[in-house]
């Protein structure tokens, strides 16, 4: 276990599937240290491209009892990343200091073996640069001392209009991300493989309001059915000479 493990916590209850994280990710990382993220035939009939992050949509249940779940999927920065030990060149590595899984593009030979070893399909080869690419958690951004402190977060986190994405150290029990995982039932994808993904998802919740009887029947009796309340005797003490008890 590394001392620090940066990760995203994505709240599926508030994700609206707007793809702002996808476009902001592409925008930042196209120009950032990890870029470019090349596209093939972007305006043609069969567009394709390299993305660190994709939003997928699933329908759960059977009509009419269905729910739409949007699932933003990027590298989960597993605590036990299966993609790292299989890399023959050492281009794929997990940083000891913050747990980010990265690819050294200068060492990658483009053999694609790491993508076979990732059950989540988080790695995509850049068809033009011929090296494997994946989410860097905006490693060139989150430590950039030239940025204001509040902007030292991954581009997707800053772009999310519903604040569905939290970013933080999940090994620090007091971080916002850890607290969200702990208190809102955060879970990992495909736990059956023992990869221990660092990124967590917060489940969808039923949002409703529970009404108690005293909320339906108001104690100040607005319908003036005075007889239903015991009339206090004039001698009874009153808080403000108005209320009746």
């Amino acid at each position: 276990m590394t001392t620090k493990q940066l990760a995203l916590v994505i709240d599926l209850n508030v994700c609206v599937g707007c793809h702002a994280c996808v476009t902001s990710c592409k925008g930042w990382n196209d120009a950032g240290a990890a870029g470019p993220l090349t596209d093939q035939n972007p305006y043609g009939a069969d567009p394709s491209g390299t993305f660190f992050n994709r939003v997928q949509t699933f329908e759960v249940g059977e009509f009419p009892h269905t729910e739409t779940v949007h699932l933003p999927k990027s590298c989960l920065h597993c605590e036990d990343p299966p993609c790292v030990p299989v890399c023959p060149t050492g281009a794929s590595y997990k940083r000891a200091e913050d747990g980010i899984v990265l690819v050294d593009y200068d060492k990658c030979i483009g053999c694609k073996y790491c993508s076979w070893a990732c059950p989540y399909g988080a790695r995509e080869i850049d068809e033009q640069q011929k090296v494997m690419k994946k989410c860097t958690l905006c490693v060139d951004r989150i430590y950039d001392a030239k940025l204001p402190e509040a902007e030292r977060k991954p581009a997707c986190v800053l772009a999310c209009p519903t604040s569905a994405r939290l970013f933080g150290d999940i090994h620090d029990p007091e971080s916002e991300a850890s607290r969200a995982i702990r208190e809102q039932g955060g879970y990992a994808l495909m736990p059956e493989w023992g990869t221990q993904p660092a990124n967590h998802y917060l489940p969808r919740r039923k949002t409703g309001k529970r009404l108690h009887p005293d909320e339906l029947e108001r104690h100040d009796n607005p319908l003036k059915v005075d007889g239903k309340l015991p009339r206090p005797s004039p001698d009874d003490p009153a808080l403000d000479d108005v209320t009746s008890w």
Binding site: T57, K73, I109, G110, S115, W116, P119, K130, M190, W193
Partner: protein
Amino acid sequence: MNPAWSVLLLTSLIGAGQGLFIALVAAQASGRFLQTGLGLSLAFLAAGLLASFFHLGHPERAWRSAAMWRTSWLSREVIVLPAFMALVAAYAWTPSFAVGVLGVVACLALFVCTGMIYACLPFLQEWRSPLTVVNFTLLGCASGLTAAAALAAWLEPAQARPFAAAALVVGALAYLGRLASLVRNARLRPKSTLASAIGVKHPKITQIAQGAMGGSFNTREFFHGRPREVVCAARWALLALVFPVPALLLLAEEPLIAFLAQYAGLLAERWYFFAEAKHPQNLYYQAIS
């Protein structure tokens, strides 16, 4: 998985080269037969090595792939393959017992490395089995023995029959191993489901969008995209050509045609090996939109 020709050629060619070397060492072949056989073995290995470069995005950096031999079976293969080729060349130079034994050890290590590249991935349940390593070894040895029989028929007719007999025995074993893995894989239950993939505990989940309309690396690398008939045809080709047809041809004393048929069968076998492996990431790429 989408079968890549480079990998199909690599694994089938080096398998034949390895099997041929083992056959030559085991039979203590000598003279022109040995030299031609070792040359052919080296040619198979070199052709496989050449094919493997076409799998790489950056073949000029291939030397880097020897770095992580402590953890990566691919890296180990990258080291063992040239080492084995050097030993094959050394055995051609001095066909001594010691060099032969070293060569056979390297050869078996190479079989293990090649098989483990696939068998070590826990997510590909079709590959995650000792049968993968066993079958790579046995199928390689069988094709190498058939090649040795073909070569012997040309240069050393006295040894053609023993080689053909050995090819029949090892071929039958390899066929049994492959049948066992076909049966095993047909009975596999996928460990991952859509429910575990997105973490929603519901039996009925359908994908509506995968985040891209025109496909992606994930749809190209992990789906072969061929109709079921092609997969079926590959399975029949492997069932017929890996052993039964070459066996009949060997019995009919046509070892060269037997080898060609078996090699075609091994290509079908390797294609099917990839095509039948279902990667769990495919759960995220079921519907385009």
